[in-house]
């Protein structure tokens, strides 16, 4: 999940104005809300936070994988990884465009990312140390993202829902390419298999953290679910992810790094260990292994690109002035 701990600002049902009640009734009926229609300020602000955080995650998410493009082990793997990272930039573009329909510009959102006022998913603050991490990121990180994004195709805000439909098509390709890397390595030389196991060991708990803290500690879930901008609870999605991923790990012949993991017949799901939430909150606060590098890389790209953007704007102004003069 690329949006974590989104602060939700709503009004209790008993305090709602007739207009707010009518809005909620539309959502309850499954209608889509479109950009020019009336919406409560809290709905708009919450969506901007959520879509913005998701967009930032796509952009920052280019970095841990971009880290291995120049070292990809074959031409085909290089081409696939390039295509994947290009898709992520494209997802960022759709999502910033969806956010723009709510009255916030891409530049404003970038400013908030760069100042630290807005976050991106905690997962991208972990380093990619070996080629097997390209497998683990595709398999686990994109896999966790899909768990959240598939239901969001039905979210109440039209532009967000449509962006999610396009994104989901590409994400499932990403997950498959990650699993294909893991499969090749797990069936490869002993060194490759060790590398694959090490990647799973390092990414398992950070992947579980992507769904956000447990529902009992998640203060904003209820309002966001009423607005259908959050479709499932964090714990539901985490459970679904574990249920689907454990058999995949078994198929690879790799061990999930959780000694307590056991099938629970009664709930028809696995019992599993919670991630270390103190680590999660440290990463969110900026103390993860790569927070500083990731943000610096984005700020540097933006600052060093200023002359480029200004040059294009200046040319566009000159061209417009020339057209005016000619008319």
């Amino acid at each position: 999940m690329y949006a974590q701990m989104i602060k939700s600002e709503g009004t209790k049902r008993e305090d709602m104005s007739p207009q707010e009640l009518a809005f909620q009734a539309r959502i309850d009926r499954g209608e889509k809300i479109e950009p020019k229609e009336w919406m409560p300020e809290g709905y708009r602000k919450t969506l901007i936070r959520q879509i913005g955080q998701h967009a930032h995650s796509e952009i920052v998410g280019q970095l841990p994988e971009g880290n291995w493009i120049t070292r990809a082990p074959t031409l085909e793997r290089k081409a696939i990884l390039l295509a994947k990272v290009q898709d992520e930039a494209g997802h960022g573009l759709y999502l910033y465009s969806a956010a723009e329909t709510l009255g916030v510009s891409r530049d404003e959102l970038f400013e908030k990312l760069h100042s630290g006022a807005m976050k991106y998913s905690s997962i991208f603050n972990y380093p990619t140390l070996t080629w097997a991490d390209m497998g683990a990121v595709g398999w686990l990180v994109d896999g966790a993202a899909i768990m959240n994004q598939v239901p969001l195709q039905r979210t109440s805000y039209g532009p967000y829902s449509r962006a999610m439909i396009r994104i989901c098509k590409e994400e499932s390709f990403h997950q498959r390419q990650g699993y294909s890397i893991m499969m090749t390595m797990a069936k490869g030389t002993p060194a490759q298999k060790d590398m694959a196991q090490d990647a799973l060991n390092r990414f398992w708990y950070p992947a579980l953290m992507m769904f956000g803290p447990s529902d009992k500690d998640s203060v904003h879930s209820e309002q966001s679910m009423a607005w259908k901008i959050k479709m499932n609870t964090n714990d539901e999605l985490r459970q679904k992810f574990v249920n689907e991923t454990v058999p995949q790990a078994e198929y690879l012949g790799l061990s999930v790094p959780d000694e307590t993991l056991a099938w629970n017949e009664e709930k028809q799901g696995y019992d599993f260990a919670e991630p270390d939430w103190s680590e999660f909150f440290e990463v969110i606060k900026g103390n993860g292994p790569c927070n500083r590098e990731r943000l610096e890389a984005r700020v540097t790209a933006w600052d060093e690109g200023a002359w480029f953007r200004e040059g294009l704007s200046a040319h566009a102004e000159k061209a417009a002035a020339a057209r005016m003069a000619a008319e």
Partner: protein
Amino acid sequence: MTGIAELEAPLADPHLSDEALRPAFFEWLCRMGDSTLILGHRTSEWCGHGPALEEDIALANTALDLIGHTQFWLGLAAEVEGKGRSADQLAYLRDAWHFRNLLLVELPKGDMGQTLVREFLFDAWHHLQLDWLAANSSSPRVREIAAKALKEVSYHLERVCDLVIRLGDGTEESHRRLQDALDRLWPYTGEMFTGDAVDATVAGAGIAPDPASLRPAWDALVDEVLEAATLTRPQTRPDAQKGGRQGRHTEHLGFILAEMQFLQRAYPGATW
């Protein structure tokens, strides 16, 4: 976008069984594939670090196209060589002195100005080369690859000409950065048009043009774009730096290969 497409059933091509032609044909194919590989590598270094989201997408797309072309050129090179090597083995298991790329493409990416001006100077040649090959090459296999690559490179050229014009005629700073890049890269452009015995052999067989023959059209296009961009064509020697196509490289190539080939070198024989 080439993606990872593979050519379908190979076309019959008499050149592939011509023993006398083989060494020169192999050399020439490596020159094509190595230039697209190394420029693809340099372009991919921008991933996630571009000056605007649209540029991140365009640069990744360009790099992807170039890696796709590499798969085709080096794949054919491996077939022509006939020693059982694959495109990957050529890319990942040769050392620098066996690489045949233009020096221009191995220079560091620099700022966006250097990256764009390099791409412009290269694409202007690349487009002419592919256009000639697709229409005229006596090798059906070469024609087929060139025709596929030409579609993508036509777009690369269009996009980069547009950016060079807009940034050359943008702000004082964007103009200065592009002019600096042009002055720095100009001495490497002559290599694209300097033929040797390998070129004479493949040109003689009708596979590829005489490199010098593409110069007038390249000059015309470059002059046209530079004028629109308000940039000044450098007066320095265009062929002061050359040798990459014969395996004499700058210091930069060794570092590119150390990075690119790391996994294949560290885990010999593994499948990825």
